[in-house]
Symmetry: C2
DNA sequence: AATGTCATGTAACTAGTTACATGATTTA
DNA sequence: TAAATCATGTAACTAGTTACATGACATT
């Protein structure tokens, strides 16, 4: 069972949408809302090489529109299987603590790859984990608020607010997957 | 001018609060709201070594409460200068795009290290950058909402909501630094 | 005697950073 | 001809991951 970095899964997920070159992928990271990923060639080309080495994607040379030849990558069956495996993994307490970015990326790909049924399940686990973690943070704040400098307390409150917001978001999002709504893309 | 990772600055900021051992720092990462950092010895001990090599902290052996000897680290003048340099750097568009974690850590240390006057300035820059980025994300959503799968759209909306929340938070936080309020710790 | 907690550290591996190199084609 | 855009790639460096090693003392 292979392991990949978040960047690797991001590339895999994007290549599942449609085949693309490394350059296309870089442009996605520079010009769309996926700007949290680095668009540097030193990150993307080696990552594509690794994915290809694992047999998860396959690149084919293509005579491009005039300029230099481009390598267009498409996801393989193995790649799709690995992407599904990643998407369907459990939502752990650790995932929540280490930051929600990974989980949000997983969710973003979910409808397309594993279908809306699974997305709703994911949201339920997501909400459950946050609902468990949030009171811990709140208890920590109350226990320490007196001894904390203002900016430290404000920063912590901001973090708590973020988790609270995501919980509310998840609960609203779940309703969009309810039967009766036409939820297919 | 030295460069350090986020972990390096986190350690520097914590050691500015008071001198501690590597083990104490690890415990902070496991037991407090700073859980986004790894508490693994393979991360922390080498990071402390690097900081000491740069002259930013200094460790002294200490006969501990019974068990094995511990090395207690304290920040040096150079370390404090470097921490201040990091805290007072500009708030860039890139800082906002790459994730708010780094900026929130900077802010958390700010009152103690550079004083409440600077914290308010920081919040104004922070709010300004978010206020500039947010409409870009919103335009992207509107331009793509039709072609996006439900889960992808929801994920993007969640991201937008987060930025909106942080903007509101920053504007509220600024008022807590206004003259007339007793804002010293 | 075995396990747990305090406490520090290293080694092998992985992946990301910045910066550079290359090269074709198009536009100013 | 200089610069911009398309397009791929490498090299040196940095830092983090997991896993292991060590060792003292305390508890069961």
């Amino acid at each position: 069972m292979e392991t990949n970095s978040l960047l690797g899964y991001a590339l895999l997920g994007l290549l599942h949408q449609h085949a693309m070159s490394g350059y296309d992928l870089r442009k996605i990271f520079t010009t769309t809302a996926m700007g949290s990923f680095s668009d540097s060639p030193g990150a993307i080309y080696p990552a594509l090489k690794r994915l290809e080495g694992q047999g998860l994607i396959r690149g084919t040379e293509e005579a491009s529109t005039g300029q230099r030849k481009r390598r267009v990558f498409k996801i393989t069956r193995e790649g799709l299987a690995e992407l599904k495996r990643w998407l369907t993994g459990p939502v752990t307490r650790n995932d929540i603590i280490r930051g929600l970015g990974t989980l949000m990326l997983r969710f973003a790909f979910m409808d397309q790859v594993t279908g809306p049924g699974h997305s709703a399940d994911f949201l339920r686990c997501f909400a459950e984990q946050i609902a468990a973690y949030l009171p811990e943070l709140e208890r920590f704040l109350e226990a320490n608020r007196a001894k904390m400098p203002l900016s430290a307390r404000l920063a912590l409150e901001s973090g708590i607010q973020e988790y609270a917001l995501r919980l509310k978001w998840a609960r609203t999002a779940i309703t969009q997957y309810e039967p009766g709504k036409r939820n297919r893309v």
